[in-house]
Symmetry: C2
């Protein structure tokens, strides 16, 4: 799981889409203008999002893009994964050229952390963010000292 500007653009655009596509499709031109992202770059991002089945394109006048799922069914991790290149964070690629035991140990730790982040982002949907915005203002005032209990499911190979 990588977090780059590209992923941020994608999430931002999807949020914009979630906001505005309630009634009719939203054109990329609108999103590009609102979010100050290059239209052609957006086209590339949405090509991937479409292939991932997250948005639907409607051609012709009055067309544009709509979400192909509900906002509470689209999570952040999937959006980012859709636009990012897949990457093997291990370098040793599992076991092949990895002779050093100590090296794999720290690799394991990172992969574990990476999975945690992924799971975390998977648990956050567009709906959460949209809803959260209202709550945020309240929470900002409360400014309380919480303890996070994070539940992690381990994927066994």
């Amino acid at each position: 799981m990588r977090l780059t500007t590209k992923g941020r653009y994608a999430v931002t655009a999807m949020l914009d889409l979630a906001f505005h596509s309630q009634i009719k499709p939203v054109t990329l031109t609108e999103i590009a203008t609102r979010q100050t992202i290059s239209l052609s770059y957006l086209e590339q991002l949405f090509a991937r999002l479409r292939r991932a089945g997250m948005v639907k394109g409607v051609r012709g006048p009055g067309g544009g893009y709509t979400l192909s799922q509900k906002t509470n069914e689209i999570n952040i991790a999937d959006i980012i994964a859709a636009v990012d290149e897949p990457i093997d964070s291990t370098k040793c690629g599992g076991e092949a050229n990895c002779q050093k035991h100590q090296a794999c140990l720290t690799h394991d730790l990172w992969v574990g952390l990476s999975e945690q982040i992924k799971d975390y982002l998977k648990s956050i949907t567009l709906a959460d963010l949209l809803e959260k915005h209202h709550v945020q203002e309240v929470a900002k005032r409360q400014d309380q000292n919480t303890q996070h209990i994070i539940e992690l499911t381990r994927h066994t190979g």
Copy 2:
């Protein structure tokens, strides 16, 4: 908060350091060899980590690097922040050129998410990861499909 290979290298190297610098300083050459990272690249990363006050360099024979804090005082977010370039994720830079209200709304949402991720990574320390590894080995043997409940104390600034 960005998540790139650079940050991964930094975290990996710090984990390696945490493992091996218990008794004596660890040379970058050792880490470079173990983690198959270029020595000079490591030097650059550690220059930043040193400036951030996370590691101490010891010159001369028998020298190397040690952690300047305890493993439970060093969190992942700080490591990543130390090596990454600072980036303004807003593009509107607060308020200056941001005329569009709708744009800032989604920006807010992203910034909020970004803060969440940061807080999350702030709550995970090197000690957590090292400790987790022991648990992992046990879990691996048991080979059961368990659900880990990991309780992380959030450090408030």
